[in-house]
């Protein structure tokens, strides 16, 4: 009886919350369609020091606030070995403007991938935007930081701490980031069914 209760309880817990990747975990590989109609995999990036994976979308106001900052990040850090890969996990049935053609219109300088395979779930992304900083280690990419890009979504001029940049710079120096994870408000993901 006790076993049964325990089992049900475990089942309940696992069905309610899927585990989020933790800092130090191996980052799962993915293969998703980019806006240039090419497939992009995390393993394509093995020559880079790290990758900034950002689950984002078109419709969410918080994601919109960060569009320019994402572009600037890629511009600054791609050459330093940390390119940006943006992934849109939303189904356009839920949000029309998250559809593929609208992603193409963004014309980002970095890959903008459509996640119709539930990659967001493997990472434990719950919202847009949701950042996972990955660093290259001997046996693949590992998670170095999870959370927000900075501390002032609405007003870039009010930013005091650039959480993600602080983390990238620490990783580059082989140090532990000041913040291994931060919290941000975002739009809950409406995935493909």
């Amino acid at each position: 009886m006790i076993k049964q209760v325990l089992f049900t309880a475990m089942l309940l817990v696992s069905s309610i919350s899927f585990a989020q990747l933790k800092v130090g975990d191996v980052a799962p590989d993915f293969k998703l369609l980019n806006t240039n109609m090419q497939m992009v995999s995390l393993s394509d990036y093995s020559e880079y020091e790290g990758v900034v994976v950002i689950f984002t979308c078109n419709h969410c106001p918080y994601a919109k606030y960060y569009e320019d900052r994402m572009k600037a990040l890629n511009e600054k850090y791609e050459q330093k070995g940390f390119p940006v890969i943006a992934i849109n996990p939303n189904d356009s049935v839920a949000y029309k403007t998250d559809g593929f053609s609208y992603m193409v219109e963004k014309a980002y300088d970095f890959p903008y991938l459509l996640d119709n395979k539930g990659v967001y779930k493997k990472y434990g992304a719950t919202k847009t935007p949701h950042v996972f900083l990955l660093k290259q280690e001997n046996n693949g990419f590992k998670v170095a930081y999870i959370g927000a890009i900075d501390d002032s979504p609405q007003d870039e001029t009010q930013v005091e701490e650039k959480y993600l940049e602080i983390a990238i710079n620490a990783v580059k120096q082989g140090k532990k980031p000041k913040y291994s994870s931060t919290k941000a408000i975002g739009c809950s993901i409406k995935p493909f069914k």
Binding site: Q20, D151, I185
Partner: protein, 158 residues
């Protein structure tokens, strides 16, 4: 004198007719937490939402205290808006348009990293999100919620 009173009544009556929704009061996260965590026999249902969040707006009708059964416990619903600063002045219009009669508060915070954990450590920051407080007991739900789910959470709290 009678006439004067009558005029007063008319003016007041007309006023209340048009004053459907009040501009939500502004709170800081600490003030909110203090209010809902202070010991009382009220069961608080706190929903975090925003006018720009489609699933949040869709589930607003769920947050109507008269729907829920809780014996003699008072249920108090607080709708905490995470709308952007520039949207605050037009919140009252939205509320009257959607016939929102429960209490709405507007959270005046800049950096989510400083307050999201104060509401619930397990909250990733995605909205909608709902937290229940009753005495020293708390329950948290991230994502959309149904009337049935909310009633179950109320039952589990008591």
């Amino acid at each position: 004198m009678k006439k004067f009173v009558l005029i007063l009544v008319i003016i007041f009556g007309v006023n209340t007719l048009f004053l459907k929704a009040q501009q939500p009061s502004v709170v800081k996260a600490d003030e909110l937490v203090k209010r809902i965590e202070s010991p009382s026999d009220t069961l608080y249902i706190v929903n975090f939402w925003a006018t720009w969040c489609a699933p949040c707006v869709e589930e607003l009708p769920v947050f109507e205290s008269s729907i829920y059964k809780s014996d003699d416990t008072i249920i108090k619903i607080l709708l905490v808006s995470l709308d952007f600063k520039q949207a605050y002045p037009s919140l009252d219009l939205f509320l009257s348009k959607h016939n929102i009669t429960e209490d709405v508060l507007w959270l005046n915070e800049k950096n989510p990293n400083t307050w999201v954990d104060k509401i619930d450590k397990s909250w990733s920051g995605a909205i909608p999100a709902t937290k229940l407080y009753y005495g020293s007991k708390q329950l948290f739900h991230e994502g959309q919620i149904s009337i049935d789910q909310l009633q179950k959470m109320i039952n589990n709290l008591k």
